[in-house]
Symmetry: C2
Subunit: 325 residues, 2 copies
């Protein structure tokens, strides 16, 4: 499978590396729209570089598309939809989009929750980082005990580490009432959920506070065991010094290139009193990367178990273990 | 009523000003433990200054206590309890303590929720800023419709504006499971509530996300009207540019000395779908000040309505109006 990456930013760079790590995929090249330090980065990493209008790199977007079986569009929100209309549809090129696009761009996708919906589809949209993390966690809980209702407070990072013009620097920004994340989640997992979002001055990770009622009544250990069985969930002890997003990323930086955390990071301090109270952290730059790889395989008709096993093994998903019984 | 302020920090300075604004109170003096710029501040503000050991100012803590009818102890958490044992009990001096003290220091107090519990008591503890804001809001909702259960996510400011050694600078710190705020709230208002707390890198205000179920079923307007009737609740429109803690404080700085916000700031974007979803911001430096004044009056046996009306009028509580029907 020859894959082109359109948009070589925070997600595109990671998608390019992840594609190169797959035995059944080949990276055809990466496309940048704007000439900046990403051009040098692509060169240093040995990627073939293309530009939208061909003004730099080996050629234009049409040149790249002519060489590929499928595209990962990792452009800023809204650009993917325009690219689809201008390039992918006319050229009949399948594409994976990001969660910043409107749901109409393709079938919404999470590898755990609804892999089968993307089988043999041409246009697939990997839901956003926050939604991906929620979908994974709630899929496991819904599968095990049935989610009766869930309420999620998203404490969102204000900007990515390379976004030096965004804020806030010193403020908390509440959203205007309930947030769109619930609707987005329901595209991939139809559970009753409400979400509310707050933006805070940090760049490292999102934090999610989940309180929910399950139809079944698992014990705490049973619940933690279900999470420990899923490689895309990393359970961490509250008691061993990982109790901040700074420490989580510090831990990951020692063990993974870029300190990428592909997994949901769930704290083991789960409370139960009829409702269940869970805290998880989300590395917004990395969490969707395994799902992008799985989306590419689903589009080829490859089975879920086969793809997830291969993605997890090649990316090392589930290799970080922080919690021991 | 001659009042002494022990501890002239973030709360002590505000309590001193608030006492001076009361027609039935007189500020005897303020006590500082450590010699720093607060000494100059007290001088500039014209307060008589005392120090613990008498090494600076007009005298020692014993000298101050000999002149007063009652003390507001606004020392750091834990110090108040030691002061009670070392000075207030032996000298038989009544005292108001802050929420940082253990509940055993005195009867826990919120002016709306349990004013009567402090009538003619000698030692009263004004609950913390977050608990004060919760007590006010939940008291009104419980009074109107009965709180069946409530869940609160506290997004806490990391440090006060003058705390230049505290962090985090760039991280989110989750608490270890459910937080103590629920127990603290139940000292003043026995409603079924769970709380969870996260610390984020900002200094301006706390943010609280409250989701709850009421026994009654108010409409949105009915609920907002109940909040608008309470002077210690400021309802702000989500739509008119006040949608961050930075903008709230910017607004208050134009209208109040120090930009102090004594009121809960509740966003009008309240959602209802069986549960009720509310967001409120809390100015941690100022919100307990009206409650400190009311606690002083309750200890003298003065009626609730009389004290609240006088406190609100003298401090201008409820004078900020941001929401118009």
């Amino acid at each position: 499978m020859k894959v082109g990456i359109v948009g070589y930013g925070v997600i595109g760079r990671r998608a390019a590396d992840a594609v190169e790590a797959q035995p059944d995929m080949e990276l055809a090249g990466v496309l940048k729209h704007t000439r900046n330090y990403g051009v040098g980065l692509a060169g240093e990493r040995g990627h073939r570089l293309f530009s939208t209008d061909g003004s730099f790199g080996e050629g234009s977007i049409e040149d790249l598309l002519a060489e590929v079986d499928v595209v990962v569009d990792s452009t800023p929100g809204g650009v993917g939809m325009r690219n689809k209309e201008e390039y992918y549809l006319p050229g009949s090129v399948p594409a994976v989009f990001q969660g910043g696009e409107a749901p109409e761009v393709g079938v919404s996708f999470n590898a755990l929750a609804n892999y089968e919906d993307a089988l043999n589809r041409k246009y697939v949209r990997v839901v956003s980082c926050n939604t991906t993390a929620l979908a994974r966690l709630l899929y496991i809980l819904d599968d095990g005990w049935g989610v009766e209702d869930a309420y999620v407070v998203l404490i969102r990072r204000a900007a990515d580490p390379n976004e030096d013009r965004k804020g806030p620097v010193n403020a908390i920004l509440p959203g205007n009432g309930l947030s769109h994340h619930a609707r987005d989640l329901q595209e991939v997992l139809p559970v009753p959920v409400r979400t509310k979002a707050y933006k805070v001055p940090t760049t490292l990770m999102h934090m999610q506070d989940i309180s929910l009622r399950l139809y079944g009544q698992p014990g705490r250990e049973e619940l933690v065991d279900a999470l420990l069985r899923e490689p895309r969930i990393l359970v961490v002890p509250s008691s061993e010094g990982l109790n901040s997003t700074a420490r989580l990323r510090d831990y990951a930086r020692e063990l993974r290139f870029r300190g990428d955390i592909y997994e949901n990071v769930v704290y083991d301090s789960i409370d139960l009193d009829g409702r269940v109270y869970i805290t998880q952290a989300v590395h917004q730059e990395a969490i969707v990367v395994p799902e992008i790889i799985d989306a590419l395989r689903a589009m080829q008709g490859i089975r879920k178990e086969e793809s997830l096993e291969l993605t997890n093994r090649t990316l090392g998903v589930g290799a970080l273990r922080a919690y021991t019984r």
